[in-house]
């Protein structure tokens, strides 16, 4: 069964550093998303992406965040200058035109020290 993959599984970075989180969505999906989950809290929407454009972004997704689909398979989330409060599990998700729902990757645990 096709699945969403994410790399790395765990990233440790120092405050102020740039990080890029990578995702490979399910191959025939056209809609892509990033969510995050701070430890012990609920999953929060960051951004949705379709047709090479951001469809919607949350208040969390400020100028420090950007997304890109650099080629036909990868979808990336970049945080330009990480803060301590960016420490969280980041999930990528994708969905198709069949309306069957969003499928999530295993997550990248980002730790900012």
């Amino acid at each position: 069964e096709p699945e969403v993959t994410q790399t790395p599984s765990h990233q440790v970075t120092q405050m102020g550093q740039e990080v890029i989180l990578r995702c490979v969505p399910i191959s025939n999906h056209l809609y892509f998303y990033w969510y995050r989950q701070i430890l012990g809290q609920k999953v929060e929407f960051l951004v949705s992406f379709y047709n090479n454009e951001i469809s919607e972004k949350s208040e969390i997704f400020d100028d420090q965040f950007s997304v890109e689909r650099p080629d036909g398979s990868n979808f990336t989330l970049k945080i330009r200058s990480t803060k301590l409060e960016d420490s969280a599990m980041y999930f990528c998700a994708s969905s198709g035109e069949d309306g069957a729902g969003q499928y999530f990757g295993p997550g990248t645990r980002l730790t900012v020290t």
Partner: protein, 112 residues
Amino acid sequence: SQQGEEDPQALSIQEGENATMNCSYKTSINNLQWYRQNSGRGLVHLILIRSNEREKHSGRLRVTLDTSKKSSSLLITASRAADTASYFCATESSSNTGKLIFGQGTTLQVKP
């Protein structure tokens, strides 16, 4: 209260019993999805119910949706120890951007 709130927050049952979790939401939706999350792991998609559907089944899972009450329930029948996890409902609004709003989740413990 917030969009996508689950009730109860925690549930502990014996293997073989049924588990029922409820979810309430506030805004109009396209669909409602249920996910399972094992501790520290990813979100597993369980089932999606559209706003024009009232009930859906998948294996041991039964989901209902009452749009007049803005609520949904997830029933797991004949529970197993392996069902121990957190369960989240997530609503997709009618804005058509795909944004999901998650609740806080119900932590289910199934004792062998």
